[in-house]
């Protein structure tokens, strides 16, 4: 033990805080969502709107898009995904590190929307698990913000095992 450590004295009343691990980790994670926008179609316009100044998802800690899935933990699938595109989406999803969440942005990503034909994938949940569906063609920015807040609530309530499966 060094001399410096011995001399260290508590500086204020709140030197230590007690909290539950899951609540603490959940609080940290819900305000540091790094989205990866997988943008394929016209919903992109609405995504630009919701992520830029006027609606500003930065207020919710989900602003800075990472342009590699390896650095992101929120996959936003924005727009129609075709069967031809599906292997790419799956590869992107598999590259993301845990913990990760997926938002299906708009009705096409959620269910295929009005595309019920040879080309379109009828909902991305056919190939990857989805945490949150935002309906609308396209969704209003308010709906997207509402969806992000709902996801944040879920992350805050979730269990967050960080060392092994039980802790």
């Amino acid at each position: 033990m060094t001399a410096g450590a011995q001399e260290r004295r508590p500086s204020a009343a709140f030197e230590y805080l007690t909290t539950r691990k899951d609540e603490f980790v959940g609080w940290a994670r819900k305000f540091s969502l790094f989205p990866y926008p997988f943008v394929t179609a016209c919903c992109a316009m609405e995504f630009m709107s919701v992520s830029s100044t006027l609606y500003d998802t930065d207020r919710f800690g989900a602003a800075l898009p990472r342009f590699t899935p390896r650095q992101s933990d929120l996959l936003m699938v924005v727009g129609t995904v075709t069967h031809k595109q599906a292997p790419i989406l799956l590869k992107v999803y598999e590259q993301m590190c845990e913990p990760k969440w997926v938002i299906a942005f708009g009705v096409c990503a959620s269910s295929g929307g009005f595309y019920q034909n040879y080309a379109a994938l009828p909902g991305i949940d056919k190939i990857i698990p989805v945490d949150l569906y935002i309906p609308g063609c396209p969704p209003r920015p308010e709906m997207v913000i509402d969806g992000i807040m709902k996801l944040q609530d879920r992350i805050a309530r979730d269990r967050h095992p960080i060392i092994n499966e039980t802790f």
Binding site: H83, K84, A86, L90, Y118
Partner: protein, 141 residues
């Protein structure tokens, strides 16, 4: 005349001759599109439809040729218009029209392994050919 455009119904065998005349003598210097129409009840079953545009006269012209289901093929225009390469590939994807002389008829909008021609009327509307196996309920748990 149909829909405000001069429309010519020609014999498939005379296609190259007609197009060459349109290009050289009448100044249709731009190839717009080639597509097809499927008439399932009719013999011969397919219309192949070409559109050309004259940038000088600013007029369009439409060519139609009827091809049978047994041999859905037409001559390729790649020798006259380079842009025909991709459009003939698309038409081959969607309707299965083979273009004689186009050496690259790989899928362009569809993917390798796709069976059938989705814009033919007898292609089932809901039929899917996924490249990624769908998740089952077991995997979701």
């Amino acid at each position: 005349m149909a829909h405000g455009t001069l429309s010519l119904l020609i014999e498939p065998a005379r296609l190259l001759e007609v197009v060459r005349a349109l290009k050289d003598r009448f100044g249709f210097d731009m190839f717009l599109d080639v597509t097809a129409v499927d008439w399932p009840q009719r013999q011969p079953r397919f219309d192949v439809v070409w559109h050309f545009y004259s940038t000088r006269e600013r007029v369009r012209v439409r060519l139609k040729a009827r091809v049978p289901e047994a041999d859905p093929a037409a001559d390729s225009l790649t020798g006259l218009y380079g842009s025909a390469r991709f459009m003939e590939r698309e038409c081959h994807d969607m309707y299965g029209i083979a273009f004689r002389g186009n050496d690259d008829l790989r899928p362009i909008l569809l993917y390798e392994g796709f069976v059938g021609h989705p814009l033919r009327k007898d292609y089932p509307k809901q039929k899917e050919q996924p490249l990624v196996p769908y998740r089952t309920n077991e995997a979701a748990k």
